[in-house]
């Protein structure tokens, strides 16, 4: 009896049951951001949409992916690693070490993206 219980409750990682929402939260923003970049010449995707929305979606997707992997309990160390990575990335661009142009506003947008990813995860868990 004990053995059969174990068999029914244990779900190995690739089991996709219950993963479709986190999957959508991770990949839909990523695809949407990529589409904005791919069609950046369209008048619709100019200004704020072109400059900040893909960054927001990228951070949102990253945050969702981490929350998905850690089932909502991402160790603080990994959050620090995520924030440090994009901050170093932007600072590197400002200093000319990395291609592109750095912008402090991007860092704030990434932060907002992570914040909303956490909010979305909470809503997802409550449903």
């Amino acid at each position: 009896m004990e053995n059969s219980n174990k068999l029914t409750t244990k779900k190995p990682f690739p089991n996709f049951t219950g993963h479709w929402r986190p999957f959508l939260l991770t990949f839909v923003p990523l695809v949407a951001g990529t589409l904005i970049y791919s069609f950046e010449d369209l008048p619709l995707f100019q200004g704020f949409i072109r400059n900040y929305i893909p960054d927001f979606l990228w951070a949102f997707s990253w945050g969702s992916c981490m929350l998905w992997l850690w089932n909502g309990c991402v160790p603080t160390g990994w959050w620090i690693a995520v924030v440090a990575s994009f901050t170093i990335f932007e600072l590197g661009q400002m200093k000319g070490v990395i291609q592109g142009h750095g912008d402090f506003r991007d860092i704030i947008i990434y932060g907002i993206g992570l914040f909303f990813a956490k909010k979305a995860w909470k809503i997802n868990q409550n449903q």
């Binding site: 010449d41 992916c65 400002m94 592109g100 142009h101 912008d103």
Partner: protein
């Protein structure tokens, strides 16, 4: 343990995606600053006169520079442009003084500016921080007309060099391919205009 490994992998993937998308912002700060226009300092006036001097001084801020020749102030409204230490600056009404980075039938100018952003720290006593980020934008001028127009993206470059298939061919490629070319050759954007200015012949 595997979660830590996956977290590291995800970090790598997302940083790769970020760098792949950021290189598409190729237009900013990617023109090389190696145009040497000669050692003699010179002031070009709107009436066509040109004053060559070994005693030139430029004061003031970049937007409103003041040129002094042999200790005498030159009226800036009469100045078309000036050359100082091998760098030529065009005087424009709208953009102030802009630095030339490509010279020829089409001149390309760079305008540097400081973008001020503010952020507020969190906590019981929030503090406001101001950050200054140096940025640039580019302008083109045809036939030394003095009239400049914005050069904002790949399409603007294609429009500017229209009529020279070789130059168009250099720029009318996918953004990622263009970014790779610029990464390989820091003068790539300069060379697109130099080919155009070279009667559409290859540079070497």
């Amino acid at each position: 343990m595997y979660k830590h490994l996956f977290s590291g992998l995800i970090l790598g993937i997302f940083m790769f995606l970020a760098s792949a998308s950021k290189v598409n912002n190729f237009i900013l700060q990617n023109f090389a600053h190696d145009l040497n226009e000669g050692s003699t300092d010179r002031v070009e006036m709107n009436d066509g006169r040109s004053i060559e001097t070994s005693n030139m001084r430029v004061t003031g801020v970049a937007n409103r520079p003041q040129v002094w020749v042999d200790g005498e102030k030159v009226s800036m409204k009469d100045v078309k442009g000036f050359r100082k230490n091998g760098v030529y600056y065009l005087q424009t009404k709208k953009h102030g003084s802009v630095r030339r980075v490509v010279q020829g039938t089409i001149n390309v100018y760079e305008k540097g500016y400081v973008d001020k952003t503010t952020s507020t720290s969190q906590g019981p006593n929030p503090m406001r921080f101001e950050h200054n980020v140096e940025k640039s934008y580019y302008l083109i001028e045809r036939n030394n007309s003095g009239e400049v127009e914005f050069l904002m993206n790949k399409n603007d470059i294609i429009t500017a060099v229209q009529g020279c298939p070789l130059a168009v061919q250099m720029v009318d490629i996918k953004n990622n391919a263009l970014a790779k070319q610029i990464k390989k050759n820091k003068r790539y954007l300069n060379e697109i205009f130099e080919v155009y200015n070279n009667d559409c012949k290859p540079l070497r």
